[in-house]
Symmetry: C2
Subunit: 462 residues, 2 copies
């Protein structure tokens, strides 16, 4: 069985942010847009049953990545049923009417392939990486489990214990995970992004067969899925195979719009503190609710992406140069923006002190860098260099077939289009220094931030 | 039109806490329990359509309090529809098929009566205080608006603007209200008690006719209501009148159990800060999620009630004696427990510095008093005196007919019984010093508390 993780959406999206730039900046897409006949053109179409399909040719090696994305994540869960989306991801590795439990995974292993799955706030995805000859088999298995899972108590009860154990070992015993959960619960005062993807323990424990069946029937239908195939295949082959496999599944009921409770205006500065004897070095993070690519006004999310790059996107960033290199007060520092989300999402900076420096000094210096951008903006050169850093990493894009598939899948699963992906590099290039300053001044206000402190356990009670 | 407020449930329940003691300690109830034939006996029965009725005789004056409680409050709202319970309370003062808008209120005024209504997390109530002769008319009007409201856009649109204005003037422009909302949103990480009763502004603005009608049909039915009549009437008269009025309304569909998402285990210490130029003196509050009378193990809620009394229940409390009288560092200090709630609720201490003292000093001294009780408990005499203070205020109970009605109404609307109300004084008397210490040690841990700071706006940006 593959390891099925609940990756922090932050980490996924940070990783994806890198790919995102990379992919979007690749000349292949510009040329594809210019020349529809190009054999490397990215193609998208919709089957009669509503399944969206995206084909991304990548002919460097005889490898194909087959990813099926469902437009459902933890933020779509009913109140009190947290964890069902992730729990259901586990159940998808059980048996179907046509295949025994473990048969799909065994087949992938047998042909030397790789597989995995992940659940996030806005989507759930399953993928295999195999040789092109095995694609049809993968599509057969994946289509089969879209509707034919056997969901008996014998399947569900033991798997729930697996998830409970997963939460116990990854969250309950990890101070940084516990803190991260409560930071999110504090940051989001109304939106379900405040609820952990894996679910609250007391709610996981109550998930049952009826919940699983209701969830399956509601969300696991072709008209709620996006198939992304990247690799050494052409669009017509994928279309034929998709029609032979997924195309046989009847369309489900029309999906309801994904409307979640939105955040109110926030007016307070919040601090969430966890002290634990297992913590060695103190750390802080500071987050704000900001627009996502889907919820932002044009250009805002692009500006936030570049702001995170300029502020804390690596060794060339302001925070790194100032706090790590110049002042030597921070052991680590950085920033990230969760842009790929349906609703307003978050922007975060973080850091940890080095040597004799205190957490407070690192926080102060971080706040000062943010304030500086909000007041004075950035220079044209600095912005161009940030854009260029994106462009330079382009070369790595072609090396990540699954990265490309992820960009398209996550964008389409969060309400974006293939066109959005295509146009993204131009929109990034269009960001102005004024937009960067505005993003910092508008969204990174201290008076509506949520700071997290992970501290060694102090001896004296407070 | 009466002033229809959204009283902070804290204030209501604090007020009710006082009544609660008072009422429960009144010998009248003990004697009623002992002597079922007593003309002052509190009677309860259920009409065929499911309406619960409680009659509380109080013959001191020719006055009767007529209260109708619906078992629905803001915590029962659908996600994204915050404010509908309170908005609906407004709509109940509009016209029905049988009576023009304002006719009911005009009638109450005409006969020299008083009326009001309030919405809280777990219930919504409407009441009038009139002469006994007018009781039937009140029951007629109240029963009429249970099912016959005219809910057109002409009624709903302008009233929504009234509520928007109410929120704008009472919350948005009041730093302490804004802070209080965000403290609650931080304290409750999963439960809808974290959402303000009046609703988030952006959600109030979207409430519409369809929402109102759905809410009305779902919750405003006799089998979801409790009628409480206190005053110069006997049970048989009330029963006859209730059958003539409310009894004509058909039973609604069976109500679903009031199951809301529960709180996860909390692991962090949180601080919510609002700085505002309108704030003169700084203040703090510190809250914890604790069991309510409905969710607690036997004796726990009673212990929390007495703990709040001992710690901060007035001029005899530890906090007051120490911080205000002895040390002179606090201008105000206190504690309250929101015991009357369906789900886990909150316990809060608060204070403000006096003279040269700082907020930090007041907080530290408050924390020290809590720690002292958690470590050393309280003395038998102190506990007895706290119980006695409850008993002494008994005499005021008879003076508050509406207070008595509120106790019964709120208890029954949150899942309690008339029996619970009757037995409450004995359960309070049974609380031990060990239970008080346990309550403080178990629930008032610093590491899972939420502190609020209301501060004057500092000049320097942080």
């Amino acid at each position: 069985m593959p390891s099925r993780t609940v990756p922090s959406v932050r980490l996924i999206l940070v990783a994806m942010g890198a790919f995102l730039f990379v992919l979007f900046s690749a000349p292949i897409h510009a040329s594809a847009a210019d020349d529809p006949g190009d054999e490397n053109e990215i193609t998208d179409f919709v089957l009669e049953n509503g399944l969206q399909v995206v084909v991304i040719p990548d002919r460097r090696a005889p490898v194909v990545t087959h990813m099926l994305w469902y437009k459902v994540g933890s933020a779509d869960e009913q109140p009190g049923k947290s964890g069902i989306a992730h729990f259901f991801e586990h159940l998808m590795f059980k048996g179907t009417k046509n295949h025994k439990p473990g048969e799909f995974s065994a087949r992938v292993a047998e042909i030397g392939g790789q597989e995995n799955a992940f659940t996030s706030y806005d989507y759930t995805a399953y993928y295999q990486q195999v040789t092109p000859e095995a694609l049809e088999t993968m599509m057969h298995f994946e289509a089969d489990r879209m509707r034919n899972l056997v969901l008996t108590d014998e399947v569900i009860e033991p798997e729930r214990n697996v998830v409970i154990e997963e939460r116990a070992s990854r969250v309950e015993t990890a101070p940084d995970s516990l803190l991260s959960e409560e930071i999110d619960a504090t940051l989001y005062q109304n939106h379900p992004y405040g609820i952990p993807v894996i679910g609250w323990m007391h709610e996981i424990k109550k998930l049952n067969r009826a919940d699983a069946i209701e969830f399956y029937n509601r969300y696991y239908v072709p008209n709620n899925a996006v198939l992304v195939v990247a690799g050494d295949v052409d669009a017509e082959t994928v279309r034929d195979l998709a029609e032979k496999t997924y195309g046989k599944i009847p369309r489900g009921p029309d999906m309801e719009p994904r409307i979640r409770p939105q955040e109110p205006e926030q007016n307070t500065r919040r601090l969430v503190t966890l002290e634990d004897p297992r913590v060695g070095v103190p750390k802080f993070s500071k987050s704000w609710v900001v627009p996502s690519y889907e919820s932002a006004e044009p250009g805002e999310a692009e500006a936030l992406d570049l702001l995170s790059e300029i502020l804390g996107g690596g060794v060339h960033s302001r925070l790194y140069r100032k706090l790590v290199v110049e002042e030597g007060i921070a052991a680590s520092v950085g920033a990230y923006f969760q842009g790929t989300a349906i609703d307003d999402s978050s922007f975060t900076v973080y850091g940890a002190p080095r040597g004799e420096a205190t957490l407070e000094e690192v926080e102060k210096a971080t706040n000062a860098e943010i304030a500086r951008i909000a007041a004075d903006g950035v220079s044209e050169e600095e912005l161009e260099m940030a854009k260029t850093r994106f462009v330079r990493s382009m070369i790595f894009a072609r090396d990540s077939q699954s990265g490309m598939a992820r960009i398209y899948g996550s964008t389409l699963a969060t309400g974006g289009s293939v066109e959005d992906v295509r146009e993204w590099p131009e929109r990034i290039r269009a960001v102005t220094v004024e937009q960067i300053r505005n993003a910092a001044a508008t969204y990174l206000e201290d008076s509506r931030s949520v700071t997290g402190h992970l501290l060694p356990k102090s001896e004296e009670p407070t």
